[in-house]
Amino acid sequence: MKRFDCFKSLAAMLGPDDIVVANVGPISREWNALRPSEANLLQVNLGLCAAVGLGIAITLPHRRVVILDGDGNLLLNLASLADMANQGLKNVLHIVLDNETYEGGGGLPSATAGKADLALIAKGAGIENARVVTVLDDFAQAAGDALRSSGHRFIVAKVDKGTVEKLPTLTLDGKEGKYRFARYIERTEGKQILRPRYTHI
Amino acid sequence: MEIEKARIVVDGLKEAGINFTVGLPDSQFHEVYEQILQDPSLKYVGAGNEAEGASIAMGAWFGGKKPALIIATSGLLVATFSLARLHLKEVPLLVLIPYRGDLGDPRWMGIYKQFVEPMLNSMDIPYKIVSRKDEIKQTIADCQICAEAWLKPVAVLVTGEALW
């Protein structure tokens, strides 16, 4: 199963208001190519994708938050799963694109290439709706199920190594991406995030 | 500065993509300024002080140019406020400085040794010191690439064999 194909199927299912938090690297590049949107928060650094998604999901419980994580990334802060489970979230679809490899770091195997089973770990952490999919139809069905219901779903998608050729490069750095995302939330939520009046002195 | 080394500095700027220069002269870099003035592809603007120079360079960057600020060691002290505030320090700018007062400088400028590097550090301006002439070009290229990627000023300090 190819990650890009999973993303194609997911992108077709998402509404324009669904917030997506994506990991730095090919995950962000592939996702951006298929679903360019201000509702994407891209290039979240190693190990922090789930945590950032968690903060957003708590703050905006009425919005759906989709987290596009990688195996190596999640492993770095595995405890995120336990912290998320304890929040009793109703609006999160957490997808791990598991290629069993530290792809950006030269292709050495990650712990999921050995004995680690992230879905089992997630269940142990308290996320009941956790499953592994290995073929595209199953992925589409699992993601579709998740998006049709509320709750906290966790899908481990076993995907091939490697990425797609000729992806458009990302043109935003983190700071510009921050402004774009915060302005988008301001607009859609009627909140003021940037430049609040500062009158405490 | 020997004309041959000055040529390397100027070629280094051009190879790094620099096409707009602003500055105030330093005697040890005189040959560099002379060659830049003769080269229209390096459009030179002479500023009245280094802080003004940094601002002109910032404007040029917004206009799509790749600017370099070429100033004396003393001028770095004058440009401090401007460099520290260059739109909150986040506009790329190659700052090229003949490092006067470094060990080996035969003149009386030792006073700068105690200010220059601590100041660059406290202003959060990364810098690289180049002391060999065969490393001048690479150093300029490296610093320019990082200035563009990090969106901030990056300094090249020319000293030692590369300068004298």
Partner: protein, 212 residues
């Protein structure tokens, strides 16, 4: 005397999307943002850097009209920039100086002026401009004079300079500057939006890439 806010709204009508405006830190920026052109202008440029920044922009984009909305205190800090403008003689640069004769941002607020600048004494910025080689430099004291001078400056080749003598305080801006934040862009966000604006106008690349 005329008011800065009124002159800025008059000028806002004269500017089109093809022109680039640079505004300094202080009350000019929030007033200029009210015209809706904040994100497509370079705003809150720090003390003394407005005119030199506009000069760099004008030299980099010689086919495009660039306007600095400077002020007396800002310009005096880097007065030598007028000399540089006079030597480079960019045809596309107009410097408008809102000259209120005092350091308003450093003042007590509450509708009171700050300490006087040199223009409250003997200094004539238009004469300094002419002395630097900016021949088209004039002083205006009424809205009508401002309008005529600004129209001329935008139409003709420059460099040109308009020194507008304005009220010592801004009528609608009587709060202490510490409270004067709120909507609008900070300088970092403005950097991105202004650079993106020029990328679109000129079809060039300024911000390299996001990487990752």
């Amino acid at each position: 005397m005329v008011n800065r806010a009124d002159l800025i709204s008059i000028f806002g009508e004269m500017v089109n999307d093809e022109m680039l405006v640079v505004t300094p830190i202080g009350s000019t920026t929030p007033l200029w943002e009210r015209t809706g052109r904040g994100p497509t202008s370079l705003t809150s440029v720090s003390l003394g850097m407005c005119t030199p920044t506009a000069l760099g922009l004008a030299l980099a984009l010689p086919h495009r009209k660039v306007i600095a909305l400077d002020s007396d205190g800002n310009l005096i800090l880097n007065l030598c920039s007028l000399g540089t403008v006079g030597n480079e003689r960019p045809k596309n640069l107009t410097i408008i100086v809102f000259d209120n004769g005092n350091y308003l941002s450093g003042g007590p607020g509450k509708g009171k002026p700050g300490m006087p600048t040199a223009t409250a004494g003997n200094m004539d910025l238009a004469a300094v401009g002419r002395g630097c080689g900016i021949e088209k430099a004039s002083i205006v004291r009424t809205e009508a004079e401002f309008k005529v001078a600004a129209e001329k400056a935008l139409k003709e080749d420059g460099p040109s300079m308009i020194v507008a003598k304005i009220d010592p305080v801004d009528v609608r801006q009587t709060k202490n500057f510490r409270e004067d934040r709120g909507p609008g862009q900070d300088t970092r966000e403005n950097k991105y939006s202004f650079a993106r604006h020029i990328e679109r106008l000129e079809n060039i690349k300024i911000l390299k890439r996001g990487g990752g």
